[in-house]
Symmetry: C2
Subunit: 226 residues, 2 copies
DNA sequence: CGCGGCATTGACATTGATCAAAAGCTGTGG
DNA sequence: CCACAGCTTTTGATCAATGTCAATGCCGCG
């Protein structure tokens, strides 16, 4: 979720004063599911995966967060409802939740912005449920590539070629598949000349039209010049 | 989502004056995905399924809404992001979205309540993604029964025995399964004496402990006296 | 009574998971 | 710089879970 829109520079500065900029290395945990909630975070650099894990170790990544997004906001009885893990090196501003809530009390329109950001996140999540519930493996992977391409394109990260910052296992945990199935889906898409692999991590989208058809993805996805 | 909490009676009355009580029959559509958004709704009676459908007809139910909940709030470019369909006869209060937004401007704490309600919905959705992404068919069905039991228990509907108001096809569309798989899961749970079927629609939970174990469902589920 | 919708069950097909092996890459230390 | 260890990805072989297709039965309603 993203609540930049409603913040003018002055209040953004005030808000930033509530929290400190912090950094995490790739693969570090920003916050753990079940831990008492302290701060939430607004990403300035990098990509974070938000996940839940069952007792037996099965993990589901429920959202991706990129620069501008907030995360670590949701709680169950005062404990983090999810885990946040850095997929890249990450910089984020950490806000003490209580101070933030107090700040929101003083700036009512911020609450509206918050509601708006949450609405967008909830809408996005609805699409992800459709993807996980109804699409075949190759469709899910195609959808994922479209989503990442759009997310990174909208936020910053260069998209030509497209570096995912996801390992196969993370894609699997995001899409409700296994590593092997994700790998095979990539191979399929290669064979059909829809994508090419630059590195295991980095993709050239050869036929964005086709990719978004396969992924049932509405908005346009640009072709990556190889 | 539910924003009763923040509303005292006086303001609730004012708010209600913004919208009119309306009724729908079972299986009627409250609003369609893609239609221009007019009102959103606060349910007073009945159960509604919120869904998205692909062009080829595959449908995913992304949320259930019961009395006290709001729905029809999410939009993409001013059009409903989802469809709302009555699973039972439904009564709801319809609020013109623009009037509501204006009202929220005048009552800032309502915006906070809205954000809180959206947060709860988003947290719930996270769990559903875990269910769909990682659980086996029988686990999903068990999880569904726990969820329904808790939802109805918390809101109103009698829970002994538990009437679902879902057809098999709707359960399937909620859990990312097929009718037949859902039916087989019910049969399994019957065979294991975890549940009994009163009617195809109505279940007695014989062993809630076991059911919530199977469904990986945290909070307690009461036993239904048969 | 007979029709239509829904649920159940069985037989079979297919997808995706699991198990296993091999190849590629990365970083470390000699 | 090379060799080796550890990790990740790919690919193949097989298995299991779930989807698909079809038949049957149940139930409510005209």
């Amino acid at each position: 979720m993203n609540l930049c829109g409603a913040l003018d520079h002055i209040r953004l500065a005030q808000l930033l004063a509530l929290g400190g900029q912090r950094q995490w290395d790739k693969r570090q945990i920003l916050f753990r599911e079940g831990d008492p909630m302290g701060s939430f975070f607004k990403i300035t650099q990098g990509v974070v995966a938000v996940s839940r894990t069952l007792d037996d170790g099965r993990r589901q990544i429920v959202a991706l967060r990129a620069p501008g997004d907030c995360l670590g906001y949701l709680h169950i009885g005062g404990n983090y409802a999810f885990q946040g893990e850095a997929l890249t090196d990450v910089e984020a501003c950490a806000f003490d939740r209580r101070k933030f809530d107090a700040f929101v009390q003083l700036h009512p329109d911020l609450a509206s912005a918050l509601a708006e950001a949450l609405s967008v996140a909830l809408t996005q999540t609805g699409r992800n449920m459709l993807v996980m519930g109804k699409l075949w493996a190759i469709e899910r992977v195609a959808s994922f590539l479209c989503e990442i391409s759009e997310l990174y394109g909208a936020r910053r990260v260069s998209v030509t070629p497209l570096t995912l910052y996801f390992k196969r296992g993370e894609i699997a945990d995001y899409l409700g598949l296994t590593i092997e199935t994700v790998s095979r889906a990539f191979s399929q898409l290669k064979k059909r000349n829809v994508i090419a692999l630059i590195e295991s991590d980095t993709v050239a989208i050869l036929d964005g039209e086709r990719l978004s058809e396969i992924g049932k993805f509405k908005s346009g996805v640009k072709r990556t010049e190889p």
